[in-house]
């Protein structure tokens, strides 16, 4: 495996605001790398610097061994980019748009193949301004792939899409990975990062605050499992808090969350304490802790508001 994208000490200021504050990471060939964080965390600015759309105040960017800040023109044939909001001429047809972009590159994937891949074959004669959000996003994906790039950047590829359209995009990303492409995607959906990404960089306030495989991030935060109890009576709540369970308890009204590495042990204890007091638990569930929980644990705030 070789390093395809390398970012070192990237910094970008806008007036008093530090949008990107010393960001470093590297992405290996064939990886699906996620940049996860809330809106305004600096994800888009970071990837747009790598793509050559913005100039950083300091730092280094190498793409496929090329100094992307010094020679941005040389990386254009190697990368494909889907911007957060892709805008095209409104009076252009789907097929024309793909043909047009293909013509800008030295080599291009045949338009029919690309349209097939993003399931837009039956829309090829439609004007761009008549497409739905999901169709537009898939067209943007097709345009990002038209030069058969080794590295693909997807900036919030599923924001604003319905669940079905989101799953379509996910399956395209998976097929890209199967073909050995490197994918760098930004998202503020933790589920998306968990589903798609081999490694995830969590960003907040312009900094990378954690970077690892999703499962390792969850483990490192000591949050292997979450036991969720709802409608817990007051007496049981105090009993559980005093019970010295092997895990961390957080209460929210009559709902309790127990983060633990020993879920079956905690579960047994909880049911025993409840049964001893002759209390029936209305709802109890065990789930794996998610990146959402990691973000909460690291920053004390929710990923999505």
């Amino acid at each position: 495996m070789s390093t395809v994208v390398e970012v070192k000490d990237l910094t970008k200021r806008y007036g008093n605001l530090i949008a990107v504050d010393g960001v470093s990471f590297s992405v290996e060939e064939g990886e699906v790398f996620g940049v996860l964080g809330p809106n305004g965390a600096g994800k888009t600015t970071t990837v747009e610097i790598i793509e050559g759309l913005r100039k950083p105040d300091s730092g280094e960017v190498r793409v496929c061994g090329i100094d992307a800040l010094r020679e941005p023109a040389r990386i254009k044939d190697l990368i494909g980019v889907q911007l957060q909001a892709t805008s095209l001429y409104d009076r252009i047809r789907v097929k024309e748009a793909v043909d047009l972009f293909g013509g800008y590159y030295r080599k291009a994937i045949p338009t029919a193949t690309l349209l097939e891949e993003v399931s837009l074959t039956d829309k090829q004669g439609s004007y761009v301004d008549g497409l739905s959000g999901g169709q537009r996003q898939r067209l943007a994906l097709a345009l990002a792939l038209v030069n058969d790039p080794g590295v693909v950047f997807l900036d919030e590829p599923t924001t604003g899409l319905d669940p079905q359209a989101r799953r379509n995009v996910w399956s395209i990303v998976r097929s890209l990975q199967e073909r050995g492409k490197t994918v760098i995607l930004t998202t503020h959906y933790m589920e998306e990062a968990e589903q798609l990404c081999g490694r995830v960089a969590i960003m907040d306030l312009g900094k990378v605050i954690a970077l690892d495989r999703p499962s390792a991030l969850v483990a490192a935060a000591g949050l292997q499992s979450t036991i969720e109890l709802t409608a817990v009576p007051e007496t049981l709540r105090s009993a559980l808090v005093e019970a010295d369970l092997p895990g961390r308890i957080s209460e929210d009204g009559d709902q309790m969350l127990v983060y633990t590495a020993k879920p079956s042990h905690v579960l047994k204890e909880v049911t025993r304490i409840a049964a001893d007091r002759d209390i029936d638990l209305e709802s109890i569930s065990v789930r794996r802790a998610t990146l959402e929980d990691v973000f909460l644990a690291l920053t004390g705030k929710q990923l999505r508001e």
Partner: protein, 247 residues
């Protein structure tokens, strides 16, 4: 060169699909030449030895050039810039001067077609006699294209939003049209207005076109107007280059 050709085709295709551009650049000028042709018929004005429609027609050509050079250019470019199209294109190997080249060539072609169309309508429908040497006519129309395209691109550097671009380019267009002696001779204006009107590019090009297309005068007789139009072209071009922005 091949890529430039493709860009020109793209711009032309987009242009033909924009109904508002087509209306302003084709229907609007043709409507006016037909309207004036019907109003004036064979009427003469007393201050000049030309039929009224012959006097008016070169001004309609100026107006047509302004619809392409100023209105379509300023609003089209600012809108595409605002939509982020140039930003997306900058991620491809396409060179920015090729984008610009495609637009300029396409607009120039439209301008030549507009001019030819108006001349044909004038000759066939209203019996206007065209005296000018075709090469000389082509040269002055090209000067007009350069002048108004420069002004159009200058406006794109000053205007941020597509909404503003539509409004401002329309105001500039109508000012240059009414003060440029296109609907009525500048001879009818009061002196102070006439002086102001005299230095406008629309007025000078109107006079140049009339002298060249209808009256077949040589450069020696219209050097002052040529100088004004040339000055506007060069001046606007320089400022346009300075103010030009892609984002």
């Amino acid at each position: 060169m091949k890529i430039l050709g493709r860009q020109v085709m793209l711009e032309m295709r987009l242009f033909l699909r924009r109904k508002d551009d087509l209306f302003w650049t084709v229907a609007f000028p043709v409507f006016f030449i037909v309207l004036f042709g019907l109003i004036y018929g064979d009427m003469q004005w007393d201050f000049v030895d030309l039929r009224a429609i012959e006097y008016i027609m070169p001004g309609i050509v100026v107006m047509a050039l302004m619809t392409s050079g100023i209105m379509a250019t300023a609003s089209g470019f600012v809108e595409e810039r605002e939509r982020g199209i140039y930003r997306r294109l900058s991620l491809t190997p396409l060179k920015r001067h090729t984008i610009l080249g495609g637009q300029l060539v396409q607009r120039y072609i439209v301008i030549l077609v507009q001019t030819a169309l108006l001349l044909v309508v004038g000759v066939l429908a209203f019996n206007i006699s065209i005296q000018g040497n075709p090469l000389w006519v082509w040269l002055v129309v090209t000067l007009g294209a350069l002048c108004f395209l420069s002004i159009g691109f200058l406006l794109t550097g000053l205007i941020k939003t597509a909404r503003a671009a539509n409004g401002i380019s329309m105001v500039v267009f109508f000012m240059l049209m009414f003060l440029g002696g296109i609907f009525f001779p500048t001879e009818m204006m009061p002196d102070f207005l006439r002086t102001f009107s005299g230095v406008l590019p629309s007025t000078s090009l109107n006079d140049v076109f009339r002298a060249v297309i209808i009256m077949d005068l040589g450069a020696g007789e219209i050097w002052r107007e040529l100088l004004i139009a040339g000055g506007w072209s060069v001046g606007s071009l320089l400022v346009a280059v300075r103010l030009f922005r892609w984002e």
